[in-house]
């Protein structure tokens, strides 16, 4: 079956590029421009995986991650955090909050696709 | 505290030196004649004396001065 992926980022150009990439790779995608929209989309779209930007308006990626992981009633999606901040503490924080992987911007499209496949294969 | 005391003692000493001057020659020789029916000498000697006592009280015994006019700044110890 096709895996569903939700792309969350406040930079329209980034969202556009990832969406184009993943569609070409055969995934079903949805997008969200901020943290709150992301939460709504997770509940309606029920993605298998969320690509989650950290620095966003309204709710940061960390907050979204935390809320999702605290909600035990729903099917837990895989989460890959995307961030432009390279600090180790940020990576550790994301993983601690329940993210499955961490990608540093700017990333190679090949690496991103490989990471997505690796994670989806694990479940 | 010790410094404040030294200062008080110094001020008193200065008052003492002033007293030595106003109660002796040559100023003493100026208090002649009468002032309001009383001898100038009598008025001056007792008047200066009283002034000196008031000054000494002000300098040395603030507790008394304060007890007469307890104002808002009691807490300044």
């Amino acid at each position: 079956m096709t895996h569903k992926i939700l792309i969350v980022d406040d930079e329209p150009n980034i969202v556009m590029s990832i969406e184009f990439l993943l569609k070409k790779e055969g995934f079903a995608t949805e997008t969200a421009g901020d943290g709150e929209l992301a939460l709504d989309k997770v509940r309606s779209f029920l993605p298998d995986l969320v690509l989650l930007d950290v620095m966003m308006p309204k709710k940061s990626g960390f907050e979204v991650c935390e809320i999702l992981r605290a909600d035990t009633t729903m099917k837990q999606p895989r989460i890959i955090m995307l961030t432009a901040k390279g600090r180790e503490t940020e990576q550790a924080k994301g993983l601690a909050l329940g993210a499955d992987a961490y990608m540093l911007k700017p990333f190679s499209t090949k690496d991103l696709v490989a990471k997505i496949r690796e994670i989806l294969a694990a479940c | 505290m010790q410094k404040a005391l030294q200062k008080t003692l110094l001020k008193l000493g200065v008052a003492g030196c002033l007293a030595l001057i106003v109660f002796n020659y040559p100023l003493l020789s100026l208090y002649r004649g009468y002032l309001g029916g009383l001898p100038t000498l009598y008025v001056m000697l007792f008047g200066l004396w009283l002034a000196l006592i008031l000054i000494a009280r002000r300098l040395a015994d603030p507790s008394v001065v304060n007890s007469f006019k307890r104002t808002a700044n009691q807490d300044f110890e």
């Binding site: 590029s17 600090r87 700017p106 | 003492g16 002796n24 020789s29 004396w49 009280r57 015994d61």
Partner: protein, 923 residues
Amino acid sequence: MIATWFVGLVTFVYLGSLFAVARFGDRRADAGRSVMTATVYALGIAVYCTSWTFYGSVGRATTGGFSFLTIYLGPTIMFLFAAVILKMIRVSKTLRLTSIADFIAARYGKSQLLAGFVTVIAVIGIIPYIALQLKAIAYSLKIIFPDDPEALIPDALEALAFMPDSTAIIAIILAVFTILFGTRHLDVTERHEGMVLAVAFESVFKLVAFMAIGAYVVWGLNDGFIDLFQRAEAIPNIAKLLQPESINFGNWFALTLLSGIAILMLPRQFQITVVENVDETHLRRAVWLFPLYLLLINIFVLPIALAGLIQFNGGAFEADTLVLTMPLSEGNALMTLLAFLGGLSAATGMVIVETIALATMVSNDLVMPILLRGRFDFANRKDLSGLIMLIRRSTIVVLLFLGYLYYRSAGEAYALVSIGLISFLAVAQFAPAMLGGLYWKEGNRLGAFAGLGFGFAIWLYTALLPSFAKSGWIDSGFIMDGPWGISLLAAHKLMGLDSLDPIAHTLFWSLLFNLGAYIVVSILTRQEASEAAIASQFVNIQKAGDSVPRIWRGTASAEALIELLKRFLGPRQAQLRLQRYASNRGISKITNLQPDADFVLFAETQLAGTIGSASAHVMVSSVVQEEELGLDEVLNILDEASQVRAHSKELERKSNELEAATRDLRQANEKLMEVDRLKDDFMSTVTHELRTPLTSIRAFSEMLHDDPEMGAEDRTKFLGIIVGEAERLTRLINQILDFAKLESGRVDWEVERLDLSPLLRATAESVGQLFRDKGTVFVLELPEDQQPVWVDVDRDRLKQVVINLLSNAVKFVPPVAGLIRMSLSFADGYARVSVNDNGPGIPEAYQSIIFERFRQGGNTMTDKPQGTGLGLPISREIVEHFGGRLWVESLPVEASNQDGQEVASGSTFVFTLPLAGDDVLAV
């Protein structure tokens, strides 16, 4: 006119009340509720006013005019030099000194001989003074009962051979009182609170009595002050007393000086002021209350004297008893009785305190040394406390008996009348040794002996002997003509000095030789080691405080010292004090005390309170083996001590400085860390901002690269995005560099004077394409009549600011009916440029955030504006560099006009710039 029995009754009721007051005071003290307040202390000092004041002042005023006042002005002035008194109190408390003899002896190496000498001078000088008080009592009785002065004595007692007169009865009562309340404790430095309270009571009584009589004379017998003085003015002989011309200024000064010295040196004054002082802050009250007392008791002296002079004009009268005779001659029984009791209170107060003071000196400094070294089996007795007490009590009796004897034998003689000032002169001889000892370390024992010796000899020759001669006891030729006709040695005109009255004459010569000998001998002779140590302690008492260097070396046995204390203090007292001493040092059992220098000193100080410092030193020395310290050694220790003190002060100062430096360092460090953190934040943010466009660029580039089949439409779109993001990246890098340059101050400003109007117009035109692209209306409002607005700025930088504001505004205006208004005005020396848009506005909370680096107010906006987040911070830096300000005013869209001035809705960014030179703009 007054019933004898009634006078007797009142007298004994008065004396009885004295006992009651004293007993009350002692009881309160024993119960731990001391009556010794500052006021009681100050009133106690008023024991200075004796019957010689009460009766004698008026007498002096009748002949000397104002000169009696010197006796009270001197003490008033001396009390202003409270520093001296305070130092005396501190020294005495520290060393447990008991009397003025003890004080002088202690200062000069605890010399028993010196203590004895001072005591002898005091006794010779003061006994006649006590006699004078007894005489005053006897004399006042004689005036009230001229026919039968002994009427007070019940007939039954009169039959007894040993009951000579009523004065003797009063003397006996005083002896009983003094013994009861003056020798309660063995330790003299323990306070006699009851006695002091009684004396304070007497002070109040005599003041009230005297003022009552004064008021009675002034307003009862005359028509007030002015009436009295006017009547006096009419009589030339009296009138001239009231003018300064009657004053001999030399004598005036001499008497002021003499009484000023006496207030410190009289044994009774030392007793009350120093020994009985329980709290040195009480001095603060005494400094003014005692002088006030003196003033009050003197206000009526001259009026009473004048009233007497006028009443008995020309006739003979007893000037010294006017206070008593005026009410008596008017037949006013109440006033007469009051005068009698006032005089009695003045006399008894003086006798009580003076006797205690003298008794302490005589027993400690005359009797004790003789007993201690005598053949009596004294030193071996187990408990000497009872014996010491007995000695002191007997001394009181003997002293009062001597006073009485002197009064009986001198009778009406001149010697008694003039004795007040002669006593003053005697005690004035203590001044150089005493004050010198307090302030001059080099003053030594030989100097003190020499000074006292000379002074005392001159006093004997020029003051005491002449008073004997005038009493007719010895030939009086030497007074005016000199012995064997040698006129230079005439007792009242030494060296031919005849312009001073006898008192001033004696004061001058005795103090001159006393002081001279003290100084010269002190300089010429060496101080002993033990003396140097204590001299330093005296002089430095204020500075040293408790850190007095212990200068003692030797071997001692604690047991022997404890034994010694028990013998002299009594076993219980000794036990008590040793226990206190031990527990202060954390030692539980007194048998564990170490016989070190501290303990030896403690023992000696305790003994000093009981038997005087000189005797105490002798006794302690007898049980310890003290090693003789050389003078050099002592001086070294003292020097070391003072160096240690100086050193520790220096250390304290240094440590304070260090602390301050540490504090500064810590603050600087915190600041640095804060700067560091900010820089870190900055770097992190910059990285983020750079990576974001890079992410898009890389992703699209890779996709274009990997997929050659991509449709032309997508390809064009993606390439467009890549170009746009690359431009954004470039802009960002430029601005970061720009901002970094601005912040570090490494910008080359090209400042020129230019008119803002054309600049704004040109800048607006350069961004005109932006407005047209979005369909926004732009309005530029410049001052009317093309008036130039000159400012000193960097043209390009200012353009940067304006472009930044305009492009910001374009971002926020609504896509339809967007309006941007830029206006220029000037006021108060500033040009003002505002850029207003009709966008959504900026909430108050974000109005300051937007000026921070990389902070865009975009969080609330639906579509994120394009920008670097550095435009506004850079603009603000630029504007502030030219002395202006940049801020934002933002109102809800609906905001209406205010005060007729148009305040637009949306956001208004405003900046000001100072106008260039006032010559350019004349409004």
